[in-house]
Amino acid sequence: MTTSTRPRSRGASIRHSRRQLGSTELVYLALVGVLVIGAVLVATTGGNLFGQANLVDMLTRSSLLGFVALGQTFVILCGSLDLSVGYVMALCSLIGATTMAGDPAKVPLGIIAVLVVAAGIGLLNGLIVAVLKVNPFIATLGVGLIIKGYLDTNYKGPAGDVPASFQAFGYTRIGFLPLSTAVMLAAVVLGILYLRRSRTGYHMFAVGGSMEVARLSGIRTGRVLVMAHVLCAVAAGVAGLLIAARFGTGSALVYSSGYDLDSIAAVVLGGTLLMGGRGGIAGTLGGVLILAVLDTVFNILQVDPFFKDVLRGVVIIAAVAIYARRQIDRKASRPRFDGGSPPGPPTPTPDSPVPVQQGVSR
């Protein structure tokens, strides 16, 4: 490196260290901001956002969306998308409730049945996307429609009966932490470990970054995609079980609650790129919590439910616009045409795609 380029590269490194704040940290900063603003707003009406009841409400809200968004993260990281999660949830709540049929001894059977069915649907989604090369938007929308037809034809109303022992999954609390949220957090930790420590996890970033480059570096992209879809559907299946536990029966109408788009919004709010290849589950959890806090605050303030939709839309767009700004900045600061010196390896940031060599060399 010549002396003439040194000051400039030092300048670049300073700029980098100033931007070291990854998008995951930003998500949690935003969460803190939302919490503070929410707490102030709630305090003006004489309430306390961090009171037991409100905390429980927030955490309970986050558990359901948390499962779905956790699964959705895998799929979006791979550059795919799953619009069928809402239908999978509805189907799984029904399968779980009807299999258990009020008999505590059949609880494990119900859980297994749900997981198997969910995994099967995920497999179908994944194969349609990976093998038939159907755009994931269409593929999962189509699979969702197929499930919708099945549900509408066979279930006119709530069906099945969840035994009290399994309803505990929906209602038990450890202090202020609902059991379902604890399970969700455990799943999130497992998910983070899976993405950071397993070969397939690494490959998901690679596939999402560039399908073609991943394929050329010897990754079986199809398997990775299928795996992501299976994980996503299974997570949605668990969310369906949670619904069954909360309602006491299975309900087909869950699919109209908009969990599919909500989960995508949560993932993107969590800083994962919709194009894939960048992001992570920790951020998604932040996104889910932001949405849950917003909902709780709106509820306490008794905001008109329709106005809630408007606010949600604005918040989501604004948040993603802020991330997008940062991502452009980072790209622009990459020393690309930097006076002939060969570009070094990009500075690793917490949310940058992990290198894939480790997995390939085996």
Partner: protein, 341 residues
């Protein structure tokens, strides 16, 4: 001869043949089930019902072909119908001002969509999803949950009336409007602007380097999509009247129609005519389900299977004649630098 072949290639190439084949198949099945469907009056009724979706599909095509997606059209249609009913409130004299107001609102929504996507760099799926939530909530907030007012007869002309004719009995305005939209879009896509739109969807970077202001092209596409959604709202409002559910799920139907036509999500490929055929196919499928008197609950399943099968088939077709890293397939005319006018 070569021009014919080139035209056929443009029309049927790139996976678009599937939709035309499917359309013919569906019509043949309908013909067998119910020959009277092809008598002019019932055919015209079909066209009247299909026209809004065709208009929406053309709008969605413009957005999809430049590499974006518009999820807000469904709720925009709903919003426009509700606005129309509330503002007109049954007074004939308010029809024209209301139409202008709707047009302005449509342009505004499209402009916001486009600028959020292009200037704020928000992915269009999220941006238009947010717009969908905002519109959905705002309209219900404004009307208190149930739409109020009534449409005037003049307003409903476009959607339900037509020119009286001897053979057809009635040539619906909706058919003329949809046909005009399709023709205008076909012409537009052959103009420099249309070529630029496709280029922007095919390769944004290359388009930028060749001097295209991608953000402007895309914003215009979003505005056109919103304006066409407004038009579709006029047609649907006229045809079906005002309910709280107007437009719900229409965005997915429109996207389905466009993709069924072999237009690739992600941009750069596909023709207007194929998108139109996709819309007609979707409507024909709904008609077929009626003819078969399928229970309405099973319809989504059949629809899902057909969409996946058709798109998978089209993807196979597209993948076949395209060896890795060769020149563009002959069916895809290279984008010519257009002489500046």
């Amino acid at each position: 001869m070569t021009t014919v072949r080139a035209a056929a290639g443009r029309l049927f190439g790139g996976g678009s043949a599937t939709v035309f084949a499917l359309l013919v198949c569906v019509f043949v099945v309908i013909l067998f089930l119910n020959p009277s469907f092809f008598e002019p009056p019932s055919l015209m009724a079909f066209v009247k019902k299909a026209a809004p979706l065709v208009v929406l599909a053309v709008g969605q095509y413009l957005v999809i072909v430049c590499g974006e997606l518009d999820l807000s059209v469904g709720s925009l249609v709903g919003a426009q119908v509700v606005i129309a009913a509330a503002v007109i409130d049954g007074q004939e004299s308010m029809t024209l001002p209301t139409l202008l107001l709707m047009l302005a609102f449509g342009v505004l929504v499209g402009l916001v969509n486009g600028l959020v996507v292009t200037v704020l760099k928000v992915h269009s799926l999220i941006a238009t999803l947010g717009m969908m939530l905002v519109l959905y909530g705002a309209i219900r907030l404004w009307t208190g949950g149930a739409p109020t007012g009534a449409l005037s007869d003049g307003f409903r002309q476009a959607g339900r009336e037509g020119i009286d004719m001897p053979v057809l009995r009635q040539l619906p305005w909706a058919l003329l409007i949809a046909a005009a939209v399709v023709v205008a879009a076909v012409v537009l896509m052959r103009k420099p602007f249309g070529r630029t739109l496709i280029t922007a969807g095919d390769n944004e970077k290359a388009a930028t380097f060749s001097g295209v202001k991608v953000w402007r092209v895309r914003t215009i596409a979003f505005v056109m999509s919103a304006v066409l959604a407004t038009l579709a709202g006029v047609l649907i409002g006229g045809y079906a009247g005002v309910t709280a559910q107007v437009g719900q799920g229409l965005e997915f139907t429109a996207i389905t129609a466009v993709v069924l036509g072999g237009v690739v999500l992600g941009g750069g490929r596909g023709t207007v005519l194929a998108a139109m055929a996709g819309a007609l196919t979707v409507e024909a499928l709904f008609t077929l389900f009626n003819q078969l008197s399928l229970p309405s609950t099973i319809r989504p399943t059949v629809q899902g299977v057909i969409i996946i099968a058709a798109v998978a088939w089209a993807a196979r077709e597209r993948a076949k004649p395209r060896p890795f890293l060769t020149a563009e397939p002959p069916v895809q005319p290279p984008v010519q630098p257009q002489p500046q006018s």
